[in-house]
């Protein structure tokens, strides 16, 4: 392969990974914008979504049904967690919410571990999704194309929801000033709940695609993508909707290019680079690309 072909291939791979990060980051960013809460359980909601969608796939259901099952499961789990754990804590200190989300994350991982088995799993392969195709020297599978197309569709859908509906308006108002919005009569708890539903649904989409693209699902597969997606949200500017998507794409590209172009010994440190990037971003531009600055002056 020539140099430019390798470059284009990496670009395509990075974009695909980036859209997955973006889908996960939207939920994290929205929740942080409202509650100043880092939801460590977000990635695990994704994982539970896939693990419920897996048996659907093994029963021979076609891809769209599996996707719907994953979305429904993730949405239900995300909503359930918000209702039972986060909802009563909405007025507590933000560290309380953070610890609670750590607890939920650990609980989800190990409940799934206990109820299934530690062996990695994958959905039944779909001939259509695995079919390869080629554009100008770049080899991809249909699943990659579908990830980009559906991710774009869902991003545009969420954007429409936030900009053009009453609940969307309420959520934007809340993230600007929670107390002022509350005084205007916005139902805070209900809007936070909706936020969790939307974020979890998008995570469910990402989860099912991760299952089809990478296979190899374990109860721990969700946690690290969840934390990395938070890094993506920080890159884009936490609390910003376009920031989450753009940050996701940037992070995906960075990760793929670093691994692709570094020598083999250094490429193994893949996960470490993501967090080095985070520390660099916090050092240079902590408000991210589209965010507002939150400083303590030194």
């Amino acid at each position: 392969m020539s140099g430019s072909a390798v470059f284009l291939q990496q670009l395509a791979n990075g974009l695909v990974l980036g859209f997955l990060y973006g889908l996960i980051a939207i939920g994290l960013s929205m929740v942080y914008g409202l509650l100043r809460m880092i939801n460590f359980a977000h990635g695990d909601v994704l994982m539970v979504g896939v693990f419920i969608a897996l048996p659907v796939s093994w029963m021979g259901a076609p891809f769209p049904i599996v996707l719907l099952a994953g979305i429904a499961a993730a949405t239900a789990v995300g909503g359930l967690i918000q209702w039972t754990v986060y909802r009563p804590l909405i007025r507590s200190r933000d560290v309380t919410l953070l610890v609670a989300s750590l607890g939920v994350s650990l609980l989800l991982q190990n409940l799934v571990l206990m109820l299934t088995s530690p062996q990695p799993k994958r959905p039944d392969p779909e001939a259509f999704l695995d079919a390869p195709f080629q554009i100008g020297g770049v080899f991809l599978r249909n699943v990659d194309l579908l990830i980009v197309a559906l991710a774009l569709a869902f991003v545009i859908g969420t954007h429409y929801f936030l900009q053009n509906t009453r609940p969307g308006l309420a959520i934007r108002a809340l993230s600007q000033d929670l107390n002022a919005a509350r005084m205007m009569g916005i139902r805070v708890q209900r809007m936070v709940f909706i936020c969790f539903l939307v974020g979890s649904a998008l995570a469910g989409v990402a989860g099912v695609f991760i299952g089809y693209k990478y296979g190899h699902l374990t109860p721990y597969s969700g946690f690290l993508p969840g934390v990395k997606a938070f890094v993506a949200a920080v890159i884009g500017g936490i609390g910003s909707f376009p920031g989450a998507v753009v940050g996701g794409i940037i992070l995906g590209l960075l990760e793929v290019f670093l691994v692709g172009y570094l020598p083999d010994q250094l490429a193994q440190f893949r996960d470490a680079y993501v967090f080095l990037v985070l520390i660099l971003v916090l050092l240079i531009r902590p408000s991210g690309l589209f965010g507002r600055a939150e400083f303590v002056k030194a």
């Binding site: 560290v95 607890g103 929670l178 967090f275 520390i279």
Partner: protein
Amino acid sequence: MIRVRKATIPIALLLLIAALWLAQSQLNAFYLQVLGLLGINIMLTVSLNLAAGYGGMFSLGHPAFAAIGGYTAAVLTYPVAMKAFRIPAYPEWLLQIAVPFLPALILGGLAASIAAVLVGWPVLRLRGHYLAVATLGLTVIVQVSIVNLVDYTRGALGLSGIPNYANLWWIYGFVVLTMYVVYRLVHSRFGRALRAVRDDTVAAQMSGVNVARTRLIAFTISAFFAGIAGGLLGHLLRILTPGQFSFNAVFIGVAMMILGGMGSITGSVIGALIMTILPQFIIPFERGGSFFGFELPALHGLTQIVTALILIIVMLIRPEGIAGSKELTMRNLVTRTRGPAIRTSVKTSGSEVEAK
């Protein structure tokens, strides 16, 4: 009453020494190891509490600091005869020396402090809980590095054959030292500044506190003790593996701290005690088998589920933990009957949903 207080600490120390002497001479190796782990967990929790409880810096990187301290100390004390073929990548002069235990521990602690400065300096200036994610990132970075730097750490195999230096005297000596230093620190001028920063950054700044510097110093000291705890761990178990410093260690560390109470040394001891002893009773159930006449399958991850439920339930029912921010002292015991002791900052579930 003054007399009572003055006598308390020597008496407590004497009791501890007697108990340690008894334990060291009577107990078998298994119980000695559990007691050793308890001491190390107390150190880790007290040091995490200095950062998170007193300083409001919620760190998820303490396992990373312990790993850095642990591996540094272990490499320094490692027998020269085994260094050359087990961990050959170090420079020649380092392969030729085996450092005594105490300097090795302290160098380990210093290495952890350096890591804390590198992460803390960019992140501690920021509001919000970026530190949690950045330090969780540090845990990932250290984990990945240990696994991949096989010639330095023996990778996933684990660095085995570390000399067995850490007995109960060493461990509890450092436990007492950690508790003393942290107690004196948080009840000093510096500690008041630190708690002021935690409670109201802007007000602290107005009163002339250098916010970023205060936080960074506390964070670095906290990492130092976590590093020493890691060094003790390696020389107690005689092996260090990356698995000891994984996400799981993060969760357990947080559970120990919040269960006991953020901002209380007494609470740290209680939390560490519960989270060290409890798993010993749960582990048999994870393997499955017959209990009290019931046939149970192997319940993988039961310890973690219990840890998780502790985290969630404590947050829902008593977010300040068992001890809150109170300490068990002679003065508090004596004055209990005459009304409340000097009130430290009691910070419970006040509404603090940030309005930005």
